[in-house]
Amino acid sequence: MSVALTGAVVVALFLCSLTAGFLFAFAVVVMPGIRKLDDASYLRAFQVMDGIIQNNSPLFIVMWVGSVVAMLSVLVLGLGVGGLSGVTRALLVGAAALYLGGVQVPTATVNIPLNNRVQALDVDQLDAPTAERERDTFEARWNRWNVIRTVVAIVTVVMLLTAMAPSPASGQAPTRPDATELARMDERIREAMEAEHIPGVAVGVASEGRVLHISTYGLSNVELGVPVSDSSVFEIGSISKQFVAAAILLLVEDGRVHLDDPIHEYLPELPGEWRPTPRGGLLGRRDGRAADQPRSDTDVVDARRRRPRILRARHGEVGRRPE
């Protein structure tokens, strides 16, 4: 999740939680409370409370308008940014759409017009039947839509919290691309193959021993038109260095090889440049040349020509000092 989106979700969560609590308080305490008043008192009580909001109480404005801005940001970023799982994206976009459609739209189309109607009354001048009629017009409808927007606001908060919950492994765990993202990945891989003139590719993704993904592209045999499959055999080249290093480290753990020994203790025929053991020891992968010394000047080049002799070390000889 991008920093911008995370920030928008955190702000939206905070402001929508306040909004949900605000609406909830009206639904369970304020409206049932003033319900016990006579018609004129009921209308006046609502007028007074609504008056505070209509006078642009700063904290109310921050909460209410801020939640709309934050949710619009979540909606836009949730639709726009890449790298979200399908579920996370659906939760964020769904929460934003639900909040705007299920809290703000009823507020604007039902509750605020009713508020304004009550606010316009001169309660002291109303006769009893008019007050009763005005209350009847207002109360049931206002309360019904207030319960609806309260429930929607609470659901919205739960959806945002679910979207923000860390995945089981950790916050940095690999994500599972959805079908669209995988199709995009395949397309980009084929473009890269084209650019590099690569006939066939096999791709594997793993996490802690689990194969997350395998996909194959192109041909394993161009002449015969054989596609790459998940059982095609490829050579790994220098990736094998890590296997040799691991094998030597096992000998080190057994005390049979010491990384700080001169390499010639084990392989006396190696080029002369390697005789002083460099810092980092046997596996340091330096050939002993000075930085400005051309490679062609060194014994290494000569040694490469004599490679068959160098590789004479046989199984079982490693770790035994040559006679």
Binding site: P174, R176, V203, A206, V244
Partner: protein, 100 residues
């Protein structure tokens, strides 16, 4: 490769000390780190620690990248000599990494 990757997550093959040494850069006489351990290139990928190595041999190019903090391993094999598959590796890594 998946089994190898997984085995490197704990001490079932190599001790903690061996794996730490394997993924620590060698240092030149002048003190410069060369960004290379024991058969591993050490670098960062999009701000994440990466240990990796490519391979190239007649007819083939390969790349193996591990992001140990994310528990993610990317393996790419190709049947082309002297091509560059790191672009493909990065495409795959990006698909499986959370957005920054």
């Amino acid at each position: 490769m998946v089994k190898w990757d997984d085995a490197l997550n704990d001490d079932r093959i190599l001790s903690d000390a061996s794996r730490t040494a394997m993924w620590t850069s060698a240092v030149l006489e002048n003190g410069d780190e060369i960004g290379y351990g024991f058969g591993w290139i050490l670098r960062e990928y999009r701000g994440r620690r990466s240990v990796e190595h490519g391979g190239m041999v007649a007819g083939f190019v390969a790349d193996f990248m591990r992001l140990p903090d994310e528990g993610l391993a990317i393996i790419v094999f190709a049947n082309r000599y002297e091509g560059d598959v790191r672009a493909i590796r990065d495409i795959v890594a990006d698909a499986f990494l959370p957005e920054d």
